[in-house]
């Protein structure tokens, strides 16, 4: 199957999610993979309008049957538009797949993860975004052996492309890994009253464990944490080895973003909080008392 994997890079290195997208693509029979990092070849105006035009031109001129990407905000924006330019055959956020004869069956979550649907795509080219946490990433060294699409030979007609203009990206400077790329994620919820408290307790515990700091929606809404820390149905989906939920009650929308973590630990003052229903280990307690003890133990 002639496949184009749309990758993303972080400064110079390919993102972990893209390595998961490559893993999915390589698992398909007779896989012939090319990769394309659109930002690397078309960096000046990184909007969905222009990037999707490049992907659509590649699909049409090189006859790709399948386009794959990790289900990031970039792919949700750009790859979905490219699919719309190429016939609208797209499945988002795929978590597993198998074959029924020649038919590719794709499993994807619906209703904030309460339901898993098995779907098929009837027409080619197919566009599939995969949930990065559901596919083990390939080794970075594999990427060097993959063919990177030669965009010089592409004929992209920009006269048809509408002209949204990129202005800026307010990216938080953080020494911590992204929640989607860390083996340990420590997340804070409504119990934290300020950015300082979050940083000291959630950030402090994350640093002690060498992990990432995440957040429930409530703290982002309150302006205590930035949006890119949000774990949940509409934020980031994570499945680390250890997920520590601090002062998070466990709304279904939050659970949708973390319930496939390998080990889940919850600390909450309310013994009936729904977070305990998806946790492996629970402690009833106040995060303002529990977390300083944990940090002191780890540092001591």
């Amino acid at each position: 199957m002639k496949t184009l994997v749309i990758t993303e890079s972080d400064e110079s290195d390919i993102r972990l999610g893209s390595l998961s997208a490559i893993a999915f693509a390589q698992s398909l029979p007779e896989a012939q993979l090319d990769t394309l990092c659109v930002a690397d070849v078309f960096g000046e105006n990184p909007t969905a309008d222009s990037h999707a035009a490049v992907i659509a031109a590649a699909v049409n001129q090189k006859s790709y049957e399948l386009v794959v990407a990790a289900a990031t905000t970039y792919a949700k924006d750009v790859v979905a538009r490219a699919a719309g330019l190429c016939g609208g055959s797209m499945a988002s956020d795929v978590i597993s797949h198998r074959f029924d004869g020649d038919q590719l069956l794709l499993d994807r979550p619906m209703f904030a993860g309460a339901v898993t649907a098995t779907v098929t795509l009837s027409s080619i080219p197919r566009f599939i975004t995969v949930r990065a946490s559901a596919y083990n990433p390939v080794e970075r060294s594999i990427v060097d052996n993959l063919n990177s699409l030669d965009t010089e030979s592409l004929d992209v007609d920009y006269s048809d492309v509408p002209c949204a203009h990129w202005k800026s990206l307010a990216s938080r400077a953080s020494h911590r890994p992204d929640v989607t790329e860390a083996k340990i994620v420590v997340s804070g919820g409504r119990a934290f009253k300020s950015t300082e408290d979050f940083e000291r307790l959630v950030g402090g515990l994350a640093d002690g464990l060498g992990g990432a700091a995440g957040s429930s929606r409530a703290l982002v809404d309150a302006g205590i944490t930035p949006n890119d820390l949000q774990v949940g149905q509409t934020g980031k989906i994570v499945a680390p080895d250890i997920y520590i939920a601090l002062g998070i009650s466990g709304a279904v929308q939050h659970l949708a973003g973390m319930k496939n973590s390998k080990t889940i630990i919850a600390v909450n003052t309310d013994p009936d909080a729904p977070i305990f229903s998806v946790a492996d280990f629970g402690l009833v307690g106040d995060v303002y008392e529990v977390v300083p003890q944990l940090i002191a133990e780890l540092n001591g």
């Binding site: 969905a48 309008d49 905000t73 949700k76 924006d77 538009r81 490219a82 699919a83 719309g84 016939g87 609208g88 055959s89 797209m90 988002s92 069956l105 619906m110 209703f111 904030a112 993860g113 309460a114 339901v115 898993t116 098995t118 779907v119 098929t120 009837s122 027409s123 048809d160 509408p162 002209c163 949204a164 203009h165 990129w166 202005k167 990206l169 307010a170 990216s171 938080r172 992204d178 929606r217 930035p226 949006n227 890119d228 509409t234 980031k236 520590i244 929308q253 080990t263 630990i265 919850a266 305990f276 998806v278 946790a279 280990f281 629970g282 402690l283 529990v290 003890q293 944990l294 133990e297």
Partner: protein
């Protein structure tokens, strides 16, 4: 100026969703439905744009739904919030984001709006595709996952929520903009406006009359419920917790 706002009817998120025994779909026998929460944010944003920017040039807000006759209820919600009128493209067919986007594109061709505002995703299928498909079909610029919209520059200045932080883009009109969570907090309709909304016009168009030439591309073969298999071991003290998390 005219703003088209899309309205999807979805099961209320406060309920447990159960799959039918044969896996053929969700059990909808006792479900309450609401306007998709992200679409409610889109309606609210259209109202705020009208409140802030309306001058002598009237800003008209048109709510659009695509689906069964019961959609009237969610369109009435949008009208009660303050939309001027509503259009229901009535169909009992099973639709996917592609057929819905093509249908809305046909409505756009009839209505010629300057801006289409939509929720970034519907909380039933969680596909997050229809807005992007629509923008592609119309060859309009798109601004997805908007957390702030202002008029200015080329048309709209939109702040977008991305995995890396907040991105600012400038979008000429006409455009498709999809609403993220933090764009606004939708208002509740007052009783008088709910009563008034009952008298507002809902134009019903048979889907066949729009002559939309698009077949579904995504077929749902089966569904199953996801139930947590975990049982939680409750710990007595912080020391036991340290033993578990210590690297």
């Amino acid at each position: 100026m005219k703003i088209l706002v899309t309205c999807k009817r979805v099961p209320d998120t406060d309920q447990k969703i159960h799959v039918k025994e044969d896996g053929g779909g969700i059990d909808d026998s006792n479900l309450a439905y609401v306007l998709n929460p992200f679409d409610a944010i889109a309606v609210e944003e259209a109202l705020r744009i009208r409140e802030e920017y309306q001058t002598n040039d009237e800003i008209q807000i048109v709510a659009v739904g695509v689906g069964v006759a019961d959609y009237e209820s969610e369109l009435r919600t949008a009208l009660a919030m303050g939309a001027d009128r509503a259009i229901l493209v009535e169909s009992t067919a099973i639709m996917d984001p592609w057929t819905v986007a093509n249908t809305i594109a046909a409505v756009v061709a009839r209505e010629s709006p300057d801006l289409v505002l939509m929720g970034k995703q519907a909380v039933d299928d969680d596909a997050n595709q229809t807005g992007q498909f629509l923008a592609a079909l119309l060859q309009w610029p798109q601004a997805t996952f908007a957390s702030n919209i202002r008029f200015g520059g080329l048309g709209l200045q939109v702040a977008r929520e991305t995995d890396q932080g907040i991105e600012e883009i400038e979008v000429p009109l006409p455009a498709v903009v999809t609403a993220d969570l933090r764009l606004n907090e939708p208002r509740y309709a007052s009783l008088p406006s709910i009563l008034k909304a009952r008298k507002k016009e809902i134009e019903i168009i048979a889907h066949a009359d729009l002559q939309v030439d698009a077949d579904p591309k995504l077929e749902v073969l089966s569904m199953k419920s996801e139930i947590s298999q975990r049982s939680c071991v409750m710990l007595d003290n912080v020391n036991s917790l340290i033993e578990i998390i210590r690297p």
